[in-house]
């Protein structure tokens, strides 16, 4: 029995989770374009808001995992905590990129420019730069204890620095729309669409982190590459398709 044959008809948990996340994101797209009403002032451009804010929240969540993983690593030297941090940093950087790009696409028609040096924009860009630096430290430090320690320090400083940048800049200049979720400025359909999109995006982020964690674990050699090798197969298959 070949490996492909052994797996035919049954999917790993990772594949199922990934498929579920994709389906959820498609459903969110349906809600954004089919259910949510068009904005009276901004028109269809406003539909960017749902994914833009959701991915920003997902990115913050990822970086919180980086902070926690780093702090736990510095206390206990747990390799798993470090792997969670590593996985979450990469996923967080992806979601920060999505946030920035979608924000710029929205800003061009609404503000007339892709970029302005606003507090929220500046601190998000700094966030991106800090975690890109985090991944660079991971790559350039000696793998193992040194990379984990140095990255943990960068992750902790990065997480503290971003609110600091935000508040220090916000005292002098701001243009980004204020919070609309908490002050009840949205009609219920928009609010429902937003919370649904946010939930789907958070699931997607969690699935991505879990898959990335598994990749990191395999790379570290702490988990076998094959998923649950079937022990019932005893006879070696000499066929050409039996290449492992």
């Amino acid at each position: 029995m070949t490996e492909a044959g052994a797996r035919a008809g049954r999917f790993t948990g990772y594949e199922k989770a990934a498929a579920a996340a994709v389906v959820l994101m498609l459903a969110a797209a349906g809600a954004i374009f089919g259910f949510a009403p068009a904005d009276a002032l901004q028109g269809p451009v406003q539909r960017i808001f749902y994914l833009h804010v959701s991915s920003a929240i997902a990115a913050y969540g990822c970086f919180a995992v980086v902070l926690l993983g780093g702090a736990i690593y510095l206390r206990t030297e747990s390799a798993a905590a470090d792997r969670w941090a590593r996985a979450a940093a990469l996923v967080g950087l992806v979601f920060t990129t999505v946030t920035l790009v979608m924000g710029m696409l929205w800003a061009k028609p609404i503000w007339g420019t892709f970029w302005t040096w606003d507090a929220r924009l500046t601190s998000t860009l700094v966030l991106w730069i800090i975690y890109a630096g985090y991944l660079l430290v991971r790559r350039l430090a000696e793998p193992g204890r040194q990379a984990a320690r140095f990255a943990a320090v960068v992750g902790i400083f990065g997480f503290i620095d971003v609110p600091v940048v935000h508040f220090s800049v916000t005292w002098w200049r701001t243009q980004h729309p204020g919070p609309v979720i908490v002050n009840g400025a949205l009609p219920p359909e928009m609010l429902a669409t937003f919370f649904f999109t946010m939930a789907c995006t958070l699931v997607l982020a969690a699935v991505m982190i879990a898959i990335r964690y598994r990749i990191e674990a395999v790379t570290d050699g702490s988990q076998p590459a094959a998923v649950a090798p079937a022990p019932v197969v005893s006879a070696p298959d000499p066929g050409p398709s039996g290449v492992r």
Partner: protein
């Protein structure tokens, strides 16, 4: 506690003495900041009308890059001689060793500021006043703490010249925001000097405390 302070002062004294004997960093840095002013002249097309408005920005650009050079050198000699490991083998606390290194590197940057600020006054007509000096000196504290922490980190890594600015500059931004505001106010464009200076003190305290907590993980192997 007094022991840790004595260690820090001894390390700082050693670094400053070594700099005094070799005169390696300070003359190069002084030349560097004057060069930065020359480059700024060509980049901004400076004349007598716009010089005062551009001066604060030029000050921070020159200072930030001079700081990167100064702090990058702070651990270079230790790395070349492998003497940091020897220092860490002593019972001295790593945080105290780090504090000494940061103190010495910060003082070298202060010497460089003693060249930068008069040069800025001379070439840009930017008034050199006590408020400007106070803001720059307060910013130096936070910059030295963060800069030396990451200099110690990259000293053990590949591509360290590349990595130091990438890690340090984004974390310096709060200091530069507050410092930039303070210097602009002190040079006569915009207000808010007092609040900016208070913010600088807050950031100094935050970053000095954080870096002294993190120093152990960066130095100790």
């Amino acid at each position: 506690m007094t022991g840790a302070i004595a260690v820090a002062l001894a390390v700082a004294r050693k670094d400053l003495r070594s700099e005094w004997r070799t005169r390696e960093v300070v003359p190069a840095l002084a030349q560097f900041v004057v060069l930065a002013l020359v480059i700024a002249n060509f980049g901004f097309q400076i004349d007598s009308r716009n010089a005062a408005a551009i001066a604060p920005g030029v000050l921070w650009l020159a200072l930030v890059f001079a700081g990167l050079v100064a702090f990058g050198r702070a651990f270079a000699a230790e790395r070349e001689q492998a003497s940091l490991e020897a220092m860490l083998m002593t019972p001295a606390p790593p945080a105290a060793i780090f504090a000494g290194k940061a103190l010495a590197a910060g003082l070298l940057l202060v010497v460089c500021e003693a060249v930068l600020l008069p040069a800025l006054a001379l070439f840009f007509g930017a008034p050199l006043s006590l408020p400007v000096v106070a803001a720059v000196l307060l910013a130096t504290i936070g910059m030295a703490a963060l800069g030396c922490l990451f200099a110690a980190m990259v000293a053990r890594m590949r591509a360290r010249e590349l990595l130091l600015p990438l890690l340090t500059l984004p974390l310096w931004i709060p200091i530069i925001v507050a410092g930039g505001q303070a210097v602009q106010a002190a040079m006569g464009s915009g207000g808010g000097y007092g609040s900016a200076l208070g913010l600088l003190v807050d950031f100094d305290i935050l970053f000095v405390v954080l870096t002294s907590l993190a120093a152990r993980f960066v130095l100790d192997d």
